[in-house]
C-alpha cells in the first residue's frame, strides 16, 4: 500500500500538469500530446438557448451520447413492438446511481410498456390475510415510507466471449435510489395468517408477470416503490408502482404492480417456471444474486492513451448484503490488492470502488473480486466452471446466475479487450 502511495507521489510530481486531463471517458489524447489551449469563451452563439422545455425538464449536453442497447440477441422493441432486454452503458457510469433514463430494463416474455394513469391504479393485498386491502397511489403515499439504494440485476447478466464491452457483459444491472412503503408494513396492516409462507406479486401489463416470493423475504426488506431517483418511477421501471425484492434476481422485482396475494405454497407461475430445475444446487442458485463486481474503467472497447497513471474504477454488489471488500489484480489473478471503497457500502446496492494504477505500458490483465459482509467471495470463472464440472464432463457454462470474475486484457497498444475465453 505505502509503496503504491509513494509511486503515486513520484508520478504526480512528474506529470502534475497533465494528470487532470486524464479521467473518465474513452478516447483522450495521449499524455503530452494535448495541444495548448487558450482560455476563451465559447464562440458567439455557442450556448444552449433557453426554452420552455429546458426550463421545465432539463436534458444532458448534446456532447454526451451514452445510450442503452438491446441485450440478449433480441431487438427491443422487436418486430411486435415489445421491449425485452435493454442494457445500461456501465462503461460511462460515475458514482453509484444509474440515471433513471439509462436504467436497464427487462420484461417477462417481452412486453409493451403499459401507459398507466396513476389515479386509476390500485394495489390489492388479499389471500390469507385478516383484512384484504385496496390501496390507491394516494393511499400508499400516506403510509410510512423509506428511501433506500438498491441494485437490480437480470439473471441473464453474463459475460460471453463474443461480448466486447462492459455494457454487453454486465449491462443488465443498475442501481437506483428507491422510495416507497415496506411490503411488511402493508402485510402487517392486512394481518397475515400464521400458515401463509409465500406471496404472489403480479403486474398489470398484458403478460401480467407474476412471481412467488418467500414470506421471509416479503417480511424482511421488500419495497413497494413509487419513487426512483427523486421522481416517480419511470414507465419502463413499473410506473406507477413496482416491487423491489432487494438482492433477488430481476424477475422477482415485479413492475406495474397491482396485486399481492398471500398464499401457503409455491405457486409455480410462468415466471417461477423459468427457474424450474431438478438439481437442488441449480435451484438454490436461481434466487439470490451472488457477490459480483466489474471494472468499468478501463473496460472492453476502451483505449488507453499510453503508459502512466490511471484510476481503475468499477462497481461491486451482492444479493447477500453489503460489499465489505473489493480486491484488484493487475496480473491476471495471480496477486490481489484491496481497492478503495468509495462512499458507504449499503446492503444490496452497487458500491463504487477505485484503485490507483500506474501502467507500465506492457500487456496485462485486470480483474476485480467482491467479498460481501457474509463472507461470500466472487469466484473466478475457472472456479465456477470447476464447481459445475464432473469427472466425465468439463463444464463450459456457469449454471444459475453467473457472478464470476470479469477479466479485461490491456494490450500494449492500450486497447482493452474481453479476456473471457
Amino acid at each position: 500500500m505505502s509503496q503504491k502511495k509513494t509511486d503515486r507521489r513520484e508520478f504526480l510530481k512528474r506529470s502534475a500538469a497533465v494528470a487532470g486531463a486524464v479521467g473518465l471517458g474513452a478516447a483522450k489524447p495521449a499524455l503530452g500530446q494535448d495541444h495548448e489551449h487558450t482560455p476563451v469563451a465559447p464562440e458567439p452563439g455557442a450556448f444552449i438557448r433557453g426554452s420552455d422545455e429546458m426550463t421545465a425538464y432539463g436534458s444532458r449536453s448534446r456532447f454526451v451520447d451514452s445510450v442503452r442497447i438491446p441485450h440478449g440477441g433480441r431487438e427491443s422493441p422487436d418486430a411486435f413492438g415489445l421491449d425485452f432486454h435493454i442494457a445500461t452503458p456501465l462503461q460511462d457510469s460515475v458514482g453509484e446511481i444509474t440515471p433513471s433514463s439509462l436504467h436497464y430494463m427487462g420484461t417477462t416474455r417481452g412486453s409493451f410498456v403499459p401507459d398507466i394513469d396513476p389515479d386509476e391504479h390500485r394495489l390489492m393485498i388479499h389471500g390469507m390475510v385478516d383484512n384484504p386491502i385496496v390501496f390507491s397511489m394516494e393511499d400508499l403515499k400516506r403510509m410510512p415510507s423509506v428511501t433506500r439504494k438498491h441494485f437490480i440485476e437480470c439473471a441473464g447478466n453474463r459475460s460471453r466471449s463474443s461480448h466486447t464491452t462492459v455494457q454487453e457483459t454486465h449491462g443488465m444491472t443498475s442501481n437506483a435510489e428507491w422510495t416507497g412503503v415496506l411490503l411488511s408494513t402493508v402485510l402487517k396492516e392486512a394481518g397475515v395468517h400464521a400458515d401463509a409462507d409465500w406471496v404472489v406479486a403480479e403486474g398489470v401489463e398484458e403478460v401480467k408477470g407474476a412471481s412467488s416470493i418467500p414470506m421471509a423475504k416479503a417480511m424482511d426488506d421488500c419495497l413497494l416503490c413509487y419513487g426512483m431517483n427523486g421522481e416517480p418511477v419511470r414507465p419502463q421501471q413499473g410506473f406507477p408502482l413496482r416491487l423491489l425484492a432487494p438482492g433477488f434476481e430481476g424477475i422477482f422485482n415485479v413492475k406495474w404492480l397491482r396485486r399481492i396475494k398471500v398464499v401457503d405454497e409455491y405457486y409455480m407461475t410462468y415466471n417461477d417456471f423459468g427457474h424450474l430445475s431438478r438439481d437442488p444446487v441449480n435451484a438454490a442458485l436461481g434466487y439470490q444474486i451472488g457477490p459480483k463486481s466489474v471494472i468499468t474503467y478501463p473496460s472492453g472497447g476502451q483505449q488507453l492513451p499510453g503508459a502512466g497513471f490511471y484510476e481503475i474504477g468499477g462497481l461491486a454488489w451482492s444479493g447477500g448484503g453489503r460489499v465489505s471488500r473489493v480486491e484488484i489484480s493487475t496480473d491476471g489473478g495471480r496477486s490481489w490488492t484491496d481497492a478503495d471503497i468509495r462512499g458507504t457500502a449499503e446492503p444490496m446496492a452497487h458500491t463504487r470502488f477505485s484503485f490507483e494504477w500506474d501502467w507500465d505500458g506492457s500487456e496485462c490483465e485486470l480483474q476485480s473480486r467482491c467479498i460481501d459482509e457474509i463472507g461470500q467471495i466472487q469466484p473466478s470463472r475457472q472456479q465456477a466452471l470447476d464447481f459445475w464440472s464432473t469427472d466425465g464432463e468439463r463444464a463450459t457454462f456457469v449454471k444459475g446466475q453467473d457472478n464470476s470474475i470479469q477479466p479485461w486484457r490491456v494490450a500494449s497498444d492500450g486497447g482493452v479487450h474481453n479476456a473471457i475465453s
Binding site: M124, F135, A194, K217, Y270, F273
Partner: protein, 209 residues
C-alpha cells in the same frame, strides 16, 4: 446420455444439498414461527385504503395455484382446442403442430421410448409440474396482443389440446375446474423446490469453493 452420466457423477453435491436443506429447515422453523407470531399480534395500525369487494377479488384473482382453487367454472375439450388453436392464430407463431416458430415450441421433442420428461426440452405443457401453470399462462398472456380475450371454456380447451399434443391426456378428453388440477404431469414431483430463504444466508453454502 450426457444428462444421465451427469446425474450419476454428482452424488456428493446432491448429498450436500440435502444436508444443507435439513439444516436450513431446522434453523428456519423457530425464526419463522417467531416472525409469524409477531405478525399475528398486529392489528390494522393506519387504517388507510379500503376493503375490496368480493367481485373485485374474483376479477383480479387470476394466479392459479397448484390446487386450482382460483380456476373459474368452465369446460373445454381437445376437439374444441384443436379448432381454437387455428382460429385464434396460435399456429401462426407456435407452428401448425406446436413445433415452434417465432414463439416457443409447445410440443415435446422426440426423446425416444421411456424418455426422461426432462429430455423433452423446455416446453411448458410437458415440463411444467402442474397443469394449472399452463392454464394460467394461456389465460393471462395469450394470444399476443389480445390477452384476456379468451373465455374460460376456450382456455380449458386450448389447455386440453396442448396436453393431448404432448400425450399427457388422451384424445377426446374434456377438462374443467375440478379435473384440470388433478392431471398428473410427468414432472409433478420430478423437480427441486427452491430452498428456504433467510436474511443474511449465503446463496448456496460452499459455492463454488
Amino acid at each position: 446420455m450426457g444428462a444421465f452420466t451427469m446425474r450419476l457423477a454428482r452424488p456428493s453435491i446432491y448429498k450436500r444439498g440435502t444436508v444443507l436443506k435439513a439444516l436450513r429447515t431446522a434453523l428456519l422453523v423457530p425464526i419463522l414461527v417467531a416472525g409469524v407470531v409477531s405478525v399475528q399480534a398486529q392489528s390494522p395500525t393506519y387504517g388507510v385504503g379500503r376493503t375490496p369487494t368480493d367481485n373485485e377479488i374474483r376479477l383480479w384473482d387470476i394466479a392459479i395455484g397448484p390446487k386450482g382453487e382460483e380456476l373459474p367454472v368452465g369446460n373445454g375439450s381437445v376437439d374444441m382446442g384443436s379448432e381454437l388453436y387455428l382460429s385464434k392464430g396460435c399456429a401462426g407463431c407456435h407452428g401448425t403442430l406446436g413445433n415452434g416458430g417465432i414463439a416457443p415450441r409447445l410440443i415435446k421433442r422426440d426423446a425416444g421410448p421411456n424418455a426422461d420428461p426432462w429430455d423433452y426440452g423446455r416446453v411448458l405443457p410437458i415440463r411444467s409440474p402442474y397443469a394449472t401453470t399452463v392454464w394460467d399462462f394461456i389465460n393471462r398472456a395469450m394470444p399476443l396482443g389480445a390477452e384476456g380475450t379468451l373465455t374460460a371454456d376456450e382456455v380449458y380447451s386450448l389447455t386440453a389440446y396442448l396436453f393431448f399434443l404432448n400425450d399427457v391426456v388422451e384424445d377426446g378428453t374434456e377438462l374443467n375446474e375440478i379435473t384440470l388440477p388433478q392431471i398428473q404431469m410427468p414432472n409433478r414431483t420430478n423437480w427441486e423446490q427452491v430452498p428456504d430463504w433467510l436474511p443474511g444466508q449465503p446463496r448456496l453454502e460452499g459455492y463454488p469453493y
